[in-house]
């Protein structure tokens, strides 16, 4: 479990100005805190592809955006992520909640693009979006790390700096609900 308060404090330390999001259950606590705090502007988008284009515009305009989406949204965003934030080389921290991580972890499944097939994607006990999350990030060339618990909040600053250094999006996968 990761406390929303710790994540918010990290984002503030990094000078984040805008969070672009489609909410989900895992980010609920973080979003509620962001709204209650009011220090960072939350921009609701209608689909995740927009988040990457708006983030690219915000960065070009001198701001410090962060994208907060579910892994389903990562799959939604395909061409927008490719054509905006990646193609423009926008240093961009992406916080991605990892739906289905627990079921994947319990089975000890290490999915690679080569092991993805229709059978795996249709298995009842697995969430297929979890199956595709890491292969997708790899395919898009987006480096990622994990935030499992409070002790991992420093991964946020690390990913942020990596994004600045590499001049590209870098993801942190949030594997449990924020509290």
């Amino acid at each position: 479990m990761a406390q929303a308060r710790l994540i918010l404090d990290e984002l503030k330390k990094l000078g984040v100005t805008h969070v672009l999001t489609v909410p989900d259950n895992s980010s609920k606590a973080l979003l509620n805190l962001l709204w209650a705090d009011g220090g960072i502007q939350v921009v609701l988008v209608t689909r995740e592809g927009e988040a990457f284009a708006i983030a690219a515009g915000l960065w070009t305009g001198g701001k410090v955006p962060v994208v907060l989406i579910q892994n389903t949204g990562l799959l939604e965003t395909g061409d927008a992520l490719r054509g905006t934030a990646m193609r423009m080389r926008v240093p961009l921290l992406c916080l991605i909640t990892y739906r289905g991580y627990a079921k994947l972890a319990v089975r000890g499944l290490k999915v690679t693009p080569e092991t993805v097939d229709a059978e795996l994607l249709s298995k009842a006990g697995l969430d297929s979006v979890a199956v595709l999350t890491e292969p997708t990030l790899k395919a898009w060339g987006v480096p990622y790390d994990f935030l499992h618990a409070d002790a991992d909040v420093l991964r946020i600053a690390e990913a942020f700096r990596k994004a600045q250094n590499l001049e590209q999006p870098v993801a942190v996968l949030i594997t449990r609900d924020t509290t």
Binding site: H18, Q41, V43, L44, V45, T46, R47, G49, E50, F52, A53, I54, A55, A56, G57, L58, W59, T60, G61, G62, K63, P65, D79, A80, R82, G83, T84, R87, M88, R89, V90, E167
Partner: protein, 221 residues
């Protein structure tokens, strides 16, 4: 003057051609030349079949082509700029096919309260740069109606050059977000590319370099 453009709409079976229907529209020059004349320090984002024509009227450090990017993501990129630079106006010249791809952005723009954004849709009723295939809803979709329903403070449609020229100065100063549909005659723009030999100056560098150029230009102002 009404001009019959029924001849050019491809993909519509001849039996359903409404040959008596006359449609009026502007040329790209009639759309762009007055805008370039009135433009001062606004950011101008172009995309698709408007990218090269705009460069024939304008060469400004705050011009940016959403080209070699992602289709449908010029308006939301412009929204990001508008939110980052609330003291400056941002004008986006979007394609109609591109607008259809991300209609939700109309709602996002209004919800984000981008008072400094002016969104044009260049309604040529076609996917011009891929060969003028008709867009879904060609000749029937009312983009300004969609924008009004989404909550734009002002949304109107022009198919007459004089009316457009008369109203444009006011539109450029109206509190936004403002939406403008301009019915434009179809052209034959080629697909876009970014390379040193491009006629349009802002297509001569990569998208990443172009974004950095705009970022610098905005930082200096």
């Amino acid at each position: 003057m009404p001009r019959d453009k029924s001849f050019w709409v491809p993909g519509i079976p001849s039996s359903s051609k409404r040959s008596h229907q006359e449609v009026t529209f502007l040329t790209k020059r009639e759309l762009l030349e007055p805008l370039a004349r009135l433009r001062t320090d606004q950011v101008v984002i172009t995309t698709m079949g408007i990218v090269r024509p705009w460069a024939r009227f304008s060469n400004h450090p705050l011009d940016f082509a959403s080209a070699d990017s992602a289709m449908g993501h010029a308006a939301d990129f412009a929204l990001g700029l508008a939110l980052a630079q609330p003291q400056r106006r941002v004008i986006c010249l979007n394609g109609d096919g591109s607008m259809l791809m991300t209609l939700g952005t109309l709602v996002t723009i209004v919800n984000a309260g981008a008072r400094n954004l002016i969104l044009f849709v260049v309604q040529n009723d076609s996917y011009e740069i891929t060969g003028n295939q008709p867009i879904p809803g060609a000749r029937s979709v009312d983009f300004s109606g969609l924008a009004k329903s989404a909550g734009f403070r002002r949304a109107e449609t022009f198919d007459d050059r004089q009316e457009y020229e008369r109203t444009l100065p006011e539109i450029l100063h109206h509190p936004g977000p403002v939406f403008v549909t301009v019915k434009v005659e179809p052209g034959d723009e080629e697909p876009l590319s970014r390379r040193p030999e491009e006629s349009a100056l802002y297509l001569r560098c990569s998208l990443a370099e172009s974004a950095r150029g705009l970022r610098r230009a905005l930082g200096e102002r």
